[in-house]
């Protein structure tokens, strides 16, 4: 009797915990959606911000964020793919393999603001680049590097050895094997990793706020140097003026747009992963 009672109690506690978690998370999303929807209209999306963001729209912030992650992808993807191929196909020494894993996981564990500080010291001060959106892209690319490397490495490394041997047995050189076998079969995982990484990169504030963004008054940069405005840093200044209802409203609007872009990336990543699983089952 007693055991039955504690079983029931335990199950109720679990359900309760789940309910609390789910309600909290639903609350989060609905707060963003309902507050955000009120701020969003065509004018908000298509005009520039005025009065430190409290008035006007977020057109250049959207453009700036997209520009940042676009270049992040351009820099990070080839670098990560090359690293993953090297680790999986060329690196044979067991200790170096282990060391490389530690380095990659270590890079993955570095808090995002540290990347910002590194960028500030190394690029802005040592290399004297000044505040530059391109430096922001480089830093974001470094930040998401381990994500892409690990995803690519996992998918490349899970290609059965027989594929490599079959290709080699036909007389294909290592580079042809990489091009014909490794890349076509590993690219799906690499792209999933890229999407996960970009979903994270576009929402990050801390790495770019000292080095790549200005708070307002900037349009599209015409060269590699010079700041942009971006959605996360825009939300940051607006939430520091949270007592002003107009600023707060615009902050919610920007948040909804930002979260939509993030979700587009992460949902594509989910689908690309599901598709991969289907393909590999066949």
């Amino acid at each position: 009797m007693n055991r039955k009672w504690s079983n029931g109690a335990f199950l109720i506690i679990c359900r309760l915990a789940a309910a609390i978690s789910i309600l909290t998370l639903v609350f989060l999303l609905s707060v963003i959606v309902f507050n955000g929807i009120r701020a969003i209209n065509p004018e908000f999306l298509l005009t520039r911000s005025r009065n430190f963001g409290a008035e006007g729209g977020i057109f250049y912030q959207i453009i700036g964020s997209i520009l940042l992650v676009f270049c992040t992808a351009l820099i990070g993807f080839p670098l990560a793919l090359g690293t993953a191929i090297f680790k999986s196909e060329y690196l044979k020494n067991r200790y170096l393999l282990k060391l490389s894993s530690i380095l990659i996981y270590g890079l993955n564990g570095i808090p995002s603001i540290i990347f910002g500080i590194f960028g500030l010291v190394f690029f802005v001060h040592y290399l004297n680049t000044g505040i530059s959106w391109f430096v922001g892209s480089i830093i974001l690319a470094i930040m998401i590097l381990p994500t892409i490397v690990l995803a690519s490495y996992q998918s490349i490394n899970s290609i059965p050895k027989i594929y490599r041997e079959s290709a080699q047995a036909l007389g294909l050189s290592k580079w042809h094997v990489v091009l014909q076998v490794i890349i076509p079969q590993g690219i799906g995982g690499a792209i999933t990793g890229l999407l996960i990484g970009l979903a994270r990169a576009i929402g990050e504030t801390a790495p770019i706020m000292f080095i790549a963004t200005a708070f307002s008054g900037v349009e599209v940069p015409s060269s590699l140097s010079g700041p942009v405005t971006a959605l996360p840093t825009h939300i940051l200044i607006l939430s520091q003026q949270a007592t002003n209802p107009l600023a707060l409203q615009n902050a919610w609007g920007s948040s909804l747009i930002l979260i939509t872009i993030v979700f587009i990336f992460s949902i594509s990543a989910l689908f690309s992963r599901v598709r991969l699983r289907l393909v590999s089952q066949r």
């Binding site: 055991r3 504690s6 079983n7 679990c14 915990a17 789940a18 978690s21 789910i22 998370l25 989060l28 707060v31 963003i32 507050n35 670098l79 990560a80 090359g82 690293t83 090297f86 060329y90 490389s100 530690i102 380095l103 996981y105 270590g106 993955n108 564990g109 808090p111 995002s112 603001i113 540290i114 990347f115 500080i117 590194f118 500030l120 190394f122 470094i142 590097l145 381990p146 994500t147 490397v149 690990l150 050189s173 580079w175 990793g193 996960i196 929402g203 990050e204 504030t205 000292f210 996360p232 939300i235 940051l236 939430s239 949270a242 948040s255 979260i259 993030v262 979700f263 949902i267 989910l270």
Partner: protein
Amino acid sequence: MSAYTNKIVKGYVFGSTLISAAVIILILTVLFVNSYDAVKEVGYGLFTLKWNPSDGKFGILSMLYGSLAVTFLSLLISVPLGVLTAIFTAEILHPKYRVYVKSGLELLAGIPSIIYGLIGVAFFSVWVGKLFDLQSGRTIFTAALLLSIMILPTIITLCDDAFHNVPQRYREAAKGAGLYKHEVILRGIIPIAKTDIAGAVLLALGRALGETMAVMLVIGSIDKIPQPFYNFLVPGQTIMSKLGREIAESAFGSLHFSAMIFMGVVLLVIVLGLTVIVQQHFKTGRLYE
């Protein structure tokens, strides 16, 4: 021709690896070099309570305390909630819903921290202020509450995986021995999933320690250890929120700047240590998310 292209590919993959490795080493070197001034000039003074750059006082202990307190408190809330929720999703909920739950959690885990910050400013700090009748709702407790919600999805998915990875035969064997569901879970499954859960918690710990934006907006930014030290309903400061607020104000090359970097290094060492431990001993295998 083929030998030539062979070299190009080799050069490309080797080059990328070198750059990746160089970046990591560069980051560490830059941070260590820049914190050296503070270590040399201030020395043990770094581990004192007072932070006042105009006086040349650079004690980081208040911030360190803040970081640890916020993290501890947030885990205190999120770990029990997360583990129990994961028991629900993995063991009680019908498996056909699992894919939706997992996808939803992964989406939620991706919400940018600045948006959490905004929610904290607009709601949590107001609520905490009203509830405890405080002058300002921006307190250590508010930050911890916000942080615990931030890391909740991560803890739930990782723990759900941990439970899910326990082979079905253990459940069957335990059920076959006539155990009730709660006994199956508590005595059969949790002991096996224990290490993975520990890995999940350490991972969440690392994330919480390194969080900047959300904490910075709601913690109140006062560089003091509360009196008494367990009074969390007062403003505080963490290392990361301090960096976020002050690094842009300090002049590059100054002692102030160097001390800030030193603070970052202290936290980085803790977080990296955790990461390496998790990777070496727990092998959660999903660290890239």
